[in-house]
Each structure stands twice: as C-alpha cells, then as structure tokens.
C-alpha cells in the first residue's frame, strides 16, 4: 500500500472504529435480535432460538401495525408541515426591522430550550379536560358565542383532548409542533440572512410585489436550507418519544402510538424483545429511505450546479 493511502487509512481509523462500535454493532445486534425469539430469559441464558421472519410476520399481522404506521405518518407529516410553515412565516416576519425584534426572537426559542419532559407536563395541564386552561378558554368563548347567537359551538362540554381516541393524536401533534417551531425558525432565519439584499432591491425596482419577491427570490434561494431543515425535522419527528409518553403514553387504547413508542412498549412492557426489535428496524428502514432520497436530491443539485 502506498504510504499516502496508509496515512489516509490511519486518519480514517478512529472514525470508522467509532461508527463500528457505537452504530454498527448495536444496529447489527438489533437486526439479529429481530430474527430471534428474544425474551427476558434470553438475556441470562443466551438462548434465543432463530425464528427467521416470524417476528416480522407477527408484527405485520398485528392490527396495531397498520394503525401505528398510519399514526406515524400523520404525526410526522402533521408536525413537519406546521412546524415548517409557521417557522418559515416567523422567520420571514423577523427579517423586518422593528423594535424588540431580537428580544421577541430569543423568547420564541424558549420552547426549544425547555426539557421535553417539562413541556410535555405543561401541555398535559393545558389539555386537562375539566380544569385545563385550553378548555376553560374555549368554553368561555363558546359561552360568549352562545349569548350572542344562541348557539353554543361546544355545547357546554370541554373537548377530551387527551382522553378521546379521536383527539389524542391531534393533541400530541399540536404540542410537538409547538416544540419544533423554534428550530425551524432559527435555521430558516439564518438561511434568509444569506440571501443578498440587492436581489430584493432589484426585484422591487422591477415592480415585484411581496408575494412575487417571496416566490421568485426567497423560496428558490432558501431551497438548500429547506431541504436540510425538513430532513432533520423528519428524523427528529420520527423518533419523538418523550412528548408522546408524557402526554398520552400512546393511549388511550393505542390511539396515539407511533412506531417509536410502540416498539418501546413491545420491548419493555410486554418484554417481547424480538418483535420490539423488528418494529425498531421498520422505523430505521423508513428513516433510511428518506435519507437516501435526501442524498440523491443533494447529488442531483450538485451536479446541476456543476453543469
């Protein structure tokens, strides 16, 4: 081996070793586990009979699989769409100069700074069916509407945010959107700062309105940042665990389980580690697909740029 290649390999070695130990090994073990009947006893005895695809068959055959997969999609798409939309709107808004801009912008970071457990617990209080501030406010509004029109939108009863199977997932998404807005806003704001001012001035001279300036300057030039934000957001959202566990524990009646919380439940509540590992692998597979899409889109963009 030529010496410069050897040197290269040596420089690479720590990284390769790190990845092998802390990513490769757990991942490979998890995949191996998903092909075995791995129970609590297996940990001690080391006996985990190889069962092939049984765990995957059981997982896919479980009526909960389709439901949690659907929940995962709704949770991810819902969270991403609103986090990104609201984050972008705020980022554009804060580009203007006005008093207290900096103060407000840093205040908006608070949800991001709070530990998720704290945010989750506070949201749990906000959502409380009988005494939560959200229902109190809505009921007050509903009462006001009733006095004016004689029609009460809520019929005098609070919304069962967390205790109804229809609402639980939505409630969890709302809380997660709130948590995720600052992240989107900060990165997008940074991206906006990098767009040269003179483009806007030139566009304005040419008579472009605010929407046209956004559509033809901001949006296309923000695209690389957008791709990164969405990709990171996707990965973060797929693995959201704390918010759901604090708010609903995946319930009621599994209504707000995503693949993440469900695989935790299979492994650590039902102690069926094989099937739990299989559920985890499905999740990894989904994340991987999107990572590949992202890498591909990055490559075509680079090639496009080079041409």
């Amino acid at each position: 081996m030529p010496s410069h290649r050897l040197r290269g390999a040596l420089f690479l070695a720590p990284l390769v070793l790190y990845i092998a130990v802390f990513f490769g090994y757990p991942l490979a073990t998890n995949v191996g586990m998903s092909f075995r009947e791995y129970t609590a006893a297996s940990f001690y005895t080391g006996e985990a009979p190889f069962t092939g695809l049984d765990n995957y068959a059981r997982l896919l055959g479980d009526p909960l699989f389709a439901k949690t997969l659907g929940n995962t999609v709704l949770f991810t798409v819902g969270s991403l769409a609103f986090q990104f939309g609201i984050g972008l709107a705020l980022a554009v808004f804060f580009q203007r100069r006005f008093p207290l801009n900096g103060v407000l912008r840093s205040l908006l970071l608070v949800p991001w700074l709070l530990p998720l457990v704290v945010s989750g617990t506070v949201w749990r209080w906000i959502y409380d069916q009988e005494y939560g501030v959200l229902n109190q406010a809505l009921l007050g509004l509903s009462g006001a509407v009733e006095r004016l029109t004689g029609w009460a939108p809520l019929g005098g009863e609070g919304i069962a945010w967390l205790s109804s199977t229809d609402m639980a997932l939505t409630s969890v998404v709302i809380a997660n959107v709130w948590v995720g807005i600052p992240f989107n806003m900060v990165i997008l704001y940074g991206g906006l700062q990098n767009i040269p001012r003179h483009l806007y001035e030139a566009a304005e001279l040419d008579g472009a309105g605010p929407w046209q300036r956004f559509r033809h300057i901001t949006w296309p030039l923000l695209r690389p940042v957008t791709a990164v934000v969405l990709m990171l957001g996707l990965v973060y959202t797929l693995k959201v665990f704390d918010v759901i566990m604090v708010l609903t524990n995946g319930g009621p009646a599994n209504a707000s389980h995503t693949l993440t919380t469900w695989s935790y439940q299979i492994s650590f509540t039902e102690l069926d580690f094989g099937t739990g590992a299989a559920a985890g692998n499905v999740l990894i597979l989904i994340a991987l697909v999107f990572a590949l899409v992202y890498l591909r889109s990055g490559r075509t963009a680079d090639e496009g740029g080079a041409r």
Binding site: F43, E130, A160, S164, T165, D242, N249, P252, Q265
Partner: protein
C-alpha cells in the same frame, strides 16, 4: 405496585440504552470495546470471589422508602458482617437494568422486584430458590408466598404487601347522606349521588398499562372472571360497570390518563368524593387536609368474597456463587425479622407479610384494617399466566381504554384482548 412518586416523571427517564448484548455476542463486543475505549468495563468481573461486599437494587426512590431501605439494608448488612452497595432506580428502569445485568451474568445479590415482574426474572434461572436456601416461611400468609412463587418454587419474599381499597371523603359522604358502598349497586348509586358540579363521585386509574389493569382486577376477579378467559360474561359485566360509571359522568373520562398518583391528587383536591387506591397513599393523605375513611372495595353482591390483586415488591437473591448467596440470604433473613417487618410496614403503610404482625398492625391503625382484611383473599397476578402476564395485562389495559373512551363495547373489546391470551 406502588407509585408514591409521580409515575409520569419516572417514565420519562425512559430512554434507557437498549440492552442489546446477548451473551453469545459478548466476546465480539469485548474485542471491539477492549480496543481501548472501555477496557476496564470489559475486564472479567473480579468481585465474584469477594463475598464481603454485596450489591442490591430497588426502586424505592421516594421518601420515606428511600431512607428506610438504605438504613435497613445497612443495619442488616452490618449484622451479617458485610457491606451492601445499594443502587436505586426509577421503577421503569429496574427491569431493563436487571435484564442488562442478567446478560452479563452480573445480577445484584439482592433485588427488590415488583411481584408481577418476578416470573420474568425467575424464568431466566438466575434466581436462588429461597426455601432450599433456608429462608423460613413460617407465619407468612400463603397468598403472600404465592405472589413470590414461580412454577411452584419460591423465588421472592415480601416484607410487606399492599392492596387496593375504597377511600372516601367523609365530609362529602355526610353532606350527601351516603353510606360507604359495599356492593356494586351501592357503588353506582353512591357515585351518582356524590357527583355534583366540579366533583365526580368516584376516581380510579384506567391508564394504559399495568397500573390500570391492576386497578380493574379486583372488579374483574370478584365477579368470577379469570385471566385465562378475559372475554367471559363475568369479565364483560365488570367492564360494563366501569363503562357505565364513566358514561354517566360519575367518573371523569380523564381517568384513562390518570396514574394512581393523579387519582390521589383528584381526591385530595376535592374533585372526587371516592377513589380506588392503595395503602401506600395513607402516609401521603395523612399530610393533607382531608378527612377520609377507607373500606374494602365493593363486591358484586353482598356476601361475595373480595378478590384484590396482591401488590408490593418481593426480595429475590441472585445465584452469584455459594458464598455470596449465603451472605445475601443472611441479610434477607434480617430484613424479614418481626421488628424490621413491622417497622417497614408502619413507615410505608404496607401490610406485613406475616399474619400475626398484620393483625397487630390492623388493631393499632384502623386505616390499615381494610387492607389487612383483604390480604388472605388477595390474588397473585401471575399465578395463572406466569411469564405471559405482561402481554395479557397490556391487552386488558387496551380493552379498558377503548371502552372508556367510547370506542368499543365491553364484549368486543374483551374478545379482542382474549386473542393475546396464550392457548394453554
């Protein structure tokens, strides 16, 4: 089962590293890790020979249990001529930690395990059969021993047990002119009469895991249902009782998100006139400004035997070599002496595992009497299902939740839950 601390907070510490180190893969892991990163962690365990330092693991992280456990272990260790290194974890982390330990063949010498989890650990073969090791079971309630038994062998023994009963707000019942209910019919009408304005008649935990199942089990069992047949007419009837109470508004629908600690908060805050809760709430309630009484849980009809589940933790000893086992058993026997058992029970509002001591405690403390009364008929949750209990418990909790949320009828929900019961 006990949730003195806020269970929700505990469950948040959840992201435990997944124990992914099966024994067979250990040499490979070691080869990699020993490459310089964690060499010490991988060196062959050297403490196997040293029997003067024992390890212990429990989840008594909230006071007063935390200090009491530490102090009692220390005193007993001294008596046995050893030191005990105690580790305490949130409840949710205990099983993952034990499994992790089991995969390294390094279980703590003494461990305090919630009794429904015992079969999981015992099934690994890592626990010492206690009777063979010379632990005396004289004077214990047979039902207490049953809760520590797996496949006919005693692996765990309880210093104290707990159970469920009906707590009521004395003032609210007096105002409404309601007597503490004894039967299901009484319970329905009492709950109805006590519901007014901001106050619900009754509160219980119907959360989607073991805590909810365990609260439901006394209703389920006292009506004659069995965990091997969770869709029997008796089971459906029991779930209908809960469903009616929620549907008629006498129990808040939020019960599906309440832990037992939340239920206690509702009761203390005056939002519930009665609650189903455990004896460990007695010391907590004593500090609050609320006048309450405790009665056994209502039964389907007058004269029916109550059948509460047996709650509480059991001590187990790991097979860590003869010398260490002998010392651990010595410490355990010290924990089980009459004085220590009574002290532990009084401090934590548990029922002592020995009948004589329990009776004495009941006379001394009337608040404990309903709990003591229920111990002889209390049932082990894992007696019928053993290692399969967690899965069935989880399915049952799902069924309860979907019914209370108004998604399914009791019979359909339970017949779906029955699918998770292994065919015997």
């Amino acid at each position: 089962m006990r949730t003195a601390s806020s269970k929700r907070f505990d469950s948040l510490e959840v992201p435990v590293p997944r124990p992914v180190t099966p024994r067979t893969a250990r040499p490979a892991a070691c080869a990699l890790l020993c490459a310089g990163l964690l060499a010490t962690a991988c060196s062959p365990s050297s403490d196997e020979g040293d029997a003067s330092v024992l390890t212990s693991l429990d989840y008594n992280i909230s006071e007063p249990q935390n200090a009491a456990t530490a102090q009692m272990l220390e005193a007993c260790a001294e008596q046995a001529g050893v030191t005990v290194e105690r580790e305490e974890l949130p409840r949710e982390q205990l099983m993952p930690r034990l499994l992790q330990g089991a995969s390294q063949q390094e279980l703590p010498d003494l461990m305090l395990i919630d009794n429904p989890d015992l079969p999981q650990v015992a099934a690994t073969g890592a626990l010492l059969p206690l009777e063979e090791a010379g632990v005396s079971t004289d004077g214990f309630y047979p039902s207490v021993l049953e809760a520590g038994t797996h496949d006919g062998t005693l692996y765990g023994i309880a210093t104290g047990v707990n159970g469920l009963a009906l707590f009521y707000d004395t003032a609210k019942l007096e105002d409404a002119g309601v007597e503490p209910p004894e039967t299901w019919d009484d319970l329905r009408s009492a709950a109805e009469e006590l519901t007014s304005g901001d106050t619900n008649g009754l509160a219980f935990s119907a959360i989607g895991h073991e805590e909810g199942t365990w609260t439901f089990e006394p209703f389920f069992w006292s009506n004659g249902a069995e965990l091997t047949q969770v869709d029997s007419p008796e089971a459906v009837e029991a779930l209908e009782l809960w469903a009616d109470l929620v549907e008629e508004g006498h129990v808040s629908q939020s019960a599906v998100n309440w832990t037992q600690a939340d239920v206690k908060d509702q009761f203390v805050g005056g939002r519930a006139a009665m609650m189903v809760n455990g004896s460990w709430q007695l010391p907590v309630l004593a500090e609050e400004d609320v006048d309450y009484g405790v009665v056994p849980l209502p039964v389907p009809e007058a004269g029916t035997e109550p059948a509460p589940p047996m709650g509480g933790e059991v001590w187990a000893v790991a097979r860590n070599g003869e010398e260490r086992e002998a010392k651990a058993v010595e410490v355990l026997q010290c924990l089980l002496t009459d004085e220590n058992m009574t002290e532990w029970a009084e401090l934590n509002a548990y029922v002592p595992g020995k009948e004589e001591l329990a009776q004495a405690l009941a006379e001394e403390d009337p608040g404990m009497a309903p709990f003591v009364e229920s111990v002889p008929s209390a049932r082990s949750r894992t007696a019928e299902l053993g290692e399969d209990y967690p899965e069935v418990s989880s399915a049952l909790a799902d069924a309860i939740q979907s019914v209370l949320a108004g998604d399914a009828e009791p019979d359909e929900a339970l017949s779906q839950a029955q699918e998770s019961v292994p065919a015997s």
